[in-house]
């Protein structure tokens, strides 16, 4: 049994490593839905994403030419961003009001 601190630090480091380093080795083939859409033909109805020009579009960092760094930075930002958003959201959700018991 790991103590709380060790467990969460380990989980977070594993996530950072996967998104920041291992992601470079991910397959760039189309995913299941995309592939099916290509084969059948309805991929043609896809429109470009309304926010396709965001800085981290398609898990690359704009202005960073090195591919390994580009995807790595995007992954690390994603992990940190998700940690902040999910961390705050679940903390608020779990907070029990003192007076009224749900």
């Amino acid at each position: 049994m790991l103590n709380n601190r060790k467990f969460y630090v380990a989980g977070f480091i594993v996530s950072l490593f996967l998104a920041g380093v291992v992601s470079f080795y991910a397959s760039s083939s189309p995913d299941g839905l995309e592939k099916v859409a290509e084969e059948i033909g309805f991929i043609e109805t896809a429109k470009e994403n309304t926010n396709a020009d965001v800085v981290l579009s398609d898990y690359g960092t704009k202005g960073v030419d090195n591919e390994r760094a580009s995807v790595g930075i995007a992954g690390v930002i994603g992990v940190l961003g998700t940690a902040v958003v999910a961390g705050v959201a679940f903390k608020l959700i779990a907070r029990k009001p003192r007076k009224t018991k749900n």
């Binding site: 049994m1 790991l2 709380n4 467990f7 969460y8 380990a10 989980g11 977070f12 594993v14 996530s15 996967l18 998104a19 291992v22 992601s23 991910a26 397959s27 760039s28 083939s29 189309p30 995913d31 299941g32 839905l33 592939k35 099916v36 859409a37 084969e39 059948i40 033909g41 309805f42 043609e44 109805t45 896809a46 429109k47 470009e48 994403n49 309304t50 926010n51 020009d53 965001v54 981290l56 579009s57 398609d58 898990y59 995007a74 992954g75 930002i77 994603g78 992990v79 961003g81 998700t82 940690a83 958003v85 999910a86 959201a89 679940f90 903390k91 959700i93 779990a94 029990k96 749900n102």
Partner: protein, 224 residues
Amino acid sequence: MHIPDGFLDVQTSVIFTGLSAAGVAVALKGARSQLDEKTAPLAGLTAVFIFAVQMLNFPVAAGTSGHLIGGALAAILVGPWAATLALTIVLLMQAFLFADGGLTALGASTFNMSIVGVWAGYGAFLLVRKILPKSKPSIPIAAAIGGFVSVPMAAISFTVQYAMGATATYSTTTVLGAMVGTHILIGIGEGLITGLTVSAVIASRSDLVYGWKNNAKSLEIRNA
């Protein structure tokens, strides 16, 4: 399985945005009564881990890749309500920060992954858990099967949306066959990752795993 803008018509996008909003509202209520100070951090970490692993597309067949959805995984780790919320947070981050998945299709994608993926995976997990011996090693096995089942179920859910309001006119049965066939393959990867992750968490902190705690508890008090 992130749907791009344009695949579905406006009406269908609106319907599924409404359904997802309702599903997330129910999940919020469920999570509020289930999560506490001890389990909330695991829900956060689960969202983070799923975001990271969703970046790791693995090859499944010639020219096709798949990645973890994580619905079953999240449900087993933190319970289905918190899982729906965790997946929804991941999808929101992906759509807004990384332009992965269309914004108008976000409701439909959320429905397929955060609701169908979570609940189909969790349902299959519960069924298998019931059949297997009530011991720790059964949990990762049931989790793997839950993960496996969740992916074709989400693919079927997309096909329903396609049938309801695709902008394209290719036959639904063709889409159904291709979606299910491809996603059974991807489901194998989902099952493996789900089983391995659950077994790692069980080995280090079984006290935190919803799908195990909740089983151990039902041995003492029968309130089914």
